[in-house]
Symmetry: C2
């Protein structure tokens, strides 16, 4: 009998890392050793979150056992079969190739390799085959906003051929910053505005109440919508908007797909929502679209607005699938559909997709 493979979880102490440890406890147990690693936090961030600071050895629970969290190092990557990277771009850019050189298959959730033609970008429900060819020993997992919409869009594309996509993503706080920064900043802001019943009624009053406590956001998020996330991209787009376009094109193998994406941040802890307008090459019968969405793996159709049945981020947080509702004809155009998707940005949007990739890789090792 072959021994079970060794898994390394790099970035075990962040927001995605803690979701990953829960998942590893509850998913099919395909792993032998599970080794937890964490990179030192960049200076300036709260040391309470730094599992590797001097004198601060720390453990975390996985599969019902307390495991020590080791500092990320070349030695700590020896003998690893699959390495899940749940760390910021710059940490992944440095360490993922090292892990691959040591013989591990790396599954990386950062943006560091998503545009690399020698690194497949994989969503198992949509393009599982792409994970089989990995010249650098690395497989990339898409960003949380792409992952919220791609399984539903991909299943419709497979039958009707996607022609054009216009999306507005309402991103949750936990998708921003390192570790728990985004969620904590939102909660701190909500505490600052709580009980002030006049707030939200005069220009800038929320901005003054929140003051410097914007956390990783470019302004106050409590009682607000921020039409900017990520860093400046080309031609006025944000990096998050470029990612939705570029990642959707790569995953669907449609390099010239017309995509218009707007990403805004909303005061939701976890759970991205995406408003989708999609046009296809062929006519889309509504009943067939419902049927496809109701039967696609990874998608739950929840669509009866008159009965109050539509997905919301606060209802789907903590669940695995992408939830789809509000499916309807658009513009009286038989080729166009509008719909609304919600998915947990830490689960399908990060940890779950990476774990699905890792499990599919293990099956072929």
């Amino acid at each position: 009998m072959t021994p079970k493979p060794t898994l390394a979880v790099v970035g075990a102490t962040g927001a995605v890392g803690s979701v990953m440890l829960q998942m590893l406890t509850h998913h099919a147990d395909v792993w032998g050793e599970i080794r937890l690693l964490a990179s030192p936090r960049p200076s300036g961030l709260p040391p309470a979150l730094d599992a590797t600071r001097a004198g601060g050895s720390r453990t975390a629970s996985v599969r019902g056992e307390e495991c020590e969290i080791l500092a990320l190092s070349e030695e700590a990557l020896e003998g690893v079969d699959v390495a899940l990277f749940l760390v910021p771009d710059e940490v992944a850019a440095r360490w993922a190739p090292i892990a691959a050189t040591k013989g591990a298959v790396v599954v990386d959730t950062s943006a560091a390799f998503r545009a690399d033609p020698d690194v497949p970008l994989v969503v198992p429900e949509t393009n599982a085959h792409a994970a089989r060819v990995r010249p650098r020993g690395i497989v990339a997992s898409p960003g949380c906003t792409t992952l919220a919409l791609i399984v539903a869009v991909g299943s419709l594309h497979a039958e009707f051929g996607l022609d054009e996509l216009v999306v507005t993503a309402q991103q949750a706080a936990s998708g921003a910053g390192a570790g728990q920064d985004g969620a904590e900043a939102l909660r701190a802001q909500l505490g600052l505005v709580a009980g002030h019943d006049d707030l939200g009624t005069h220009p800038g009053d929320v901005r003054r109440a929140v003051g410097e406590n914007t956390g990783p956001f470019p302004g106050p998020l409590a009682l607000n919508v921020l039409p900017w996330s990520g860093t400046p991209g080309a031609d006025g787009a944000s990096s998050e908007e470029e990612r939705v376009r570029d990642e959707t094109r790569r995953i669907l193998a449609l390099p010239a797909l017309r995509v218009a994406a707007t990403c805004v941040r909303v005061p939701v802890v976890t759970g991205h929502s995406v408003s989708v307008h999609a046009r296809f090459e062929r006519p889309v019968p509504l009943d067939r679209a419902h049927e496809i969405l109701a039967t696609s793996p990874g998608v739950v159709l929840y669509d009866d607005p008159a009965a109050g049945d539509f997905p919301t981020p606060a209802d789907v947080v903590g669940t695995d699938p992408a939830w789809v509702g509000r499916v309807r004809r658009s513009m009286d155009d038989e080729r166009a559909l509008d719909f609304f998707v919600c998915a947990d940005n830490l689960r399908k949007g990060a940890a779950l997709n990476a774990l699905q990739i890792a499990e599919s890789v293990v099956a072929t090792l």
Copy 2:
């Protein structure tokens, strides 16, 4: 010298009514008598908000004077030159024709007459001329979501010819319910979730914390996004989404315009945000688009994301214009633009637009 005209404010006690009274104090004083009227609240609503309940005579301040609020009646409408209706659809449907029969020009902010071909639907910056022909003596003001986007879209349409519009509106709480119901429900919900740092992390936990306190919303709004507002329309759309389409078509005189609209509710007190993807008949040079938006009456261009300059609802609440940012080329298509608009749904979205119509009507009486 002709005496100044008499203005009636019908619905002086609601959310829009109180904004109107502030505006009347600060706008150019074109009015003689200002008469404040309120309709009895439908049974079942909080009596504290019912200005006309038995024994509850009430006053409100306008132009620095306390004015008694009268019950809406045929007598109370005698001698009125212009009547601003800031009341729910059913009250407007009954009373606006009565006011018109008594000789008043009615400016109605409800949806009761917006689709009536004998009632012009007017945004003064965009189609002021339409207010001159009013067979029923009534002029309708569009809904708050249409008003957030129409001035910016209309100014671009005037030069480039609008061909297709895909919008997602993030609507604020105060746009829902009668009176202050929406804003109060959001504040109550925020109080219920405040201090519970685990909320927003497990399926339905926010829904359980909010319980029955959903107010006028079809679910919990705190820490959430609700992809539904209004009542069920045709083919899976909500009434709010149909209004954006139908009102945009009427105001721009483009009866066959292709419009895809999604309206979601977000936990913002006041201030609607709209993500806009617009395609035009003719090429749109980006610098010319900026120039048009920077110089259009009723629009403020606030667009330098790298410097943190983009409109947000919490920053523009309490101001008059539509604020536009994130203006950028879309889909590498010289005819397509994406941008983001924020406007105060109680001001330009209701009270201000109605007052602008009223002032333009007075100039021609």
